[in-house]
């Protein structure tokens, strides 16, 4: 067990935020108010991560993923509990730890906005005191993985989101860190860039045995990369284990999105009842109407063929439009609460 890179024990982070009152009078009273409420962004979590692992740290928006990453990188001080990264408290030894970490926060580049990419790399080489041989070796490896050379002379601000992300990831590995944190690296990117980023991450993990912690709310990322996932919701860990169990379960789930002509209050409940009657209660087909006007019908394909459900829905109701998507993070979390992994 001496290969533990991250040790998290009963870790919590609470934020105090001001309760704002309504209206003009409230705004004036707020000037003098001291009425705070506590947000438990991370609430008593524990886990260990071994060297060389790629761990998917996933959960819906606002679950507490970024807050955890910020604590592990020393940006935030934990409110409670123990947190050790490479044996050190990140917050107390920020500068020393930074030397052994790489961090990417999705959408926010850490490269120098106005400078050509290669100059950012050179500055980083100087900051981390990377020697020439290592630097050249790393850049060579990246050039093989993704053809970045053409971009090197471009200022960072001129890169597309995907190119910038690739450069940021490259930069985070330049000093050969023991552990790399990637916070939503694929957010807002299209499928082809996503797959490129996944292959880069996989290769980097393999080449240096770098430990990687990857947060995302996209199940596709973790399916492609991780053997272990940790699912967090509302600050609490609700699952920590092999990904196989999760994909076995949710891989079979699909959400049928339908737009119903003349949708009325209660239509979705009637549909759920009708589906229950037709396919039996065990099928557990969930129906939910969303604000976007679509009605979500979530189906486990292992239990009921998707097309049977679709045909039934189309016969029962006047349908304008249909889409089939993979299960969403929110849905997974709901299913776990409902006991799906027990």
């Amino acid at each position: 067990m001496n290969d533990t890179v991250v040790h998290v024990d009963h870790l919590s982070k609470h934020f105090r935020i001001l309760n704002r009152r309504e209206g003009l009078g409230g705004a004036i009273r707020d000037l003098f108010s001291a009425d705070y409420k506590t947000v438990r962004a991370v609430d008593d979590i524990s886990f260990d991560i071994q060297a060389g692992e790629i761990v998917g740290y996933i959960g819906p928006n606002g679950a507490g993923k970024s807050t955890t990453i910020k604590m592990m990188t020393g940006v935030l001080k934990p409110s409670d509990g123990t947190l050790l990264v490479s044996g050190n408290e990140p917050y107390a030894n920020r500068r020393r730890n930074a030397q052994t970490m790489g961090v990417v926060f999705g959408q926010r580049t850490q490269l120098w906005w106005d400078l050509p990419v290669i100059e950012s790399f050179r500055i980083l080489k100087e900051i981390y005191r990377v020697d020439d041989a290592t630097y050249e070796k790393h850049l060579g490896m990246f050039n093989e993985l993704v053809d970045l050379k053409a971009l090197y002379s471009q200022p960072v601000r001129k890169l597309s989101l995907g190119q910038r992300m690739l450069c940021d990831i490259t930069a985070s590995f330049l000093h050969n860190p023991r552990i790399v944190f990637l916070d939503e690296p694929s957010i807002g990117l299209d499928v082809s860039v996503k797959s490129k980023i996944r292959s880069v991450i996989r290769e980097l993990n393999r080449a240096q045995r770098t430990t990687i912690i990857l947060t995302t709310h996209d199940l596709g990322d973790v399916e492609a990369l991780c053997r272990r996932i940790i699912i967090i919701d509302k600050g609490k860990i609700i699952y920590d284990g092999p990904i196989g169990k999760v994909t076995a379960l949710f891989g079979a789930y699909r959400t049928l999105k339908v737009q119903i002509h003349n949708y009325k209050e209660g239509t979705s409940d009637q549909l759920e009842a009708a589906l229950g009657a037709r396919f039996g209660g065990d099928a557990a087909i969930a129906v939910e109407h969303t604000e976007t006007g679509w009605t979500d019908v979530t189906v486990n394909q292992d239990q009921v063929p998707l097309f049977d459900v679709l045909r039934f829905v189309m016969e029962t109701l006047p349908i304008k439009d249909v889409r089939i998507v993979e299960i969403s993070m929110e849905n997974v979390v709901q299913q776990i609460y409902d006991g799906a992994l027990k």
Binding site: R20, L24, A27, I28, D30, L31
Partner: protein, 263 residues
């Protein structure tokens, strides 16, 4: 009228969200008046009048110039420049609105807020706590019109400055230069009466004095009659018309550049 009230109320509340920030704005403006008081006291040490102005007149003049400053500062130049350089100007152009009046209406609410929350209280403090007097003559009746026209002139200048972003990236340099020239040559820092006579003659031909010196004259000059006041307003109106037209002309030319080069 109701919608304007909603606007003022909205921005008032927005500022209130920034609790301490609001206190600092108030303290900052009061402190500024205090510092001016010290400065001008020492300028007037041992003399009764300078260039025909008493200490009281000069102090009221420069302190209220500070209040006018918060009121006529529109930031429209920065705003327009930002729209141009970020490309969001395309979205403005497709709106069925006149570009100039579109930006004007956006700054009016801001001005009203600054007037009520900053300029007016500062002026009151000045009068109540510093024992300063203003001239209780007809000038006061013309002051509201004079202030509104001053604001319009300031906006028209900012609008023109903002449009220069069609031609150059450097809004900081141009805007700063404008800012300094406006405050130096308008009486915002030193009453116009203090300038050498030859300089004064030239300054009176420029639009800048119409922003500060004219409304401040209405407040501080003794024995103004209605004709003199009308003359002052007339000068301001001429500048409003000329500068607004200049802004429109520049916009027509500049937007042609946009259409040719695609922004």
């Amino acid at each position: 009228m109701k919608s304007y009230f909603a606007l003022v109320r909205g921005s008032f509340m927005a500022i209130m969200m920034y609790r301490l920030s609001f206190f600092f704005t108030v303290i900052g403006n009061l402190l500024y008046i205090v510092l001016l008081y010290f400065l001008w006291s020492s300028i007037y040490r041992g003399v009764e009048t300078i260039r025909g102005m008493s200490f009281n007149q000069a102090f009221v003049y420069v302190a209220l110039a500070g209040s006018i400053f918060t009121m006529v500062k529109t930031w429209a130049d920065w705003e327009i420049s930002w729209h141009i350089t970020s490309g969001s100007i395309i979205m403005d152009l497709v709106k069925p609105l006149d570009f100039q009046f579109y930006f004007l209406s956006q700054t009016v609410g801001f001005m009203a807020f600054n007037f009520i929350m900053i300029a007016l209280p500062s002026a009151l403090v000045l009068l109540l706590f510093f024992g300063a007097d203003v001239e209780m003559g007809v000038g006061l009746l013309f002051l509201p019109a004079g202030l509104i026209l001053a604001f319009l002139i300031s906006f028209a200048i900012d609008y023109i400055i903002g449009l220069t972003s069609f031609y150059t990236e450097s809004i900081w340099g141009i805007s700063m230069t404008k800012e300094i020239i406006t405050t130096l040559l308008s009486g915002a820092l030193v009453p116009l009466q203090f300038f050498p006579d030859a300089a004064q003659r030239i300054l009176r031909l420029l639009p800048f004095q119409a922003i500060y010196h004219i409304p401040l004259t209405m407040l501080t000059a003794p024995n103004l009659d209605v004709r003199a006041c009308l003359g002052l307003l007339g000068t301001q109106v001429v500048w409003v018309v000329l500068l607004f037209l200049a802004g429109r002309l520049l916009f027509t030319r500049a937007s042609r550049v946009l259409m040719v080069s695609g922004g």
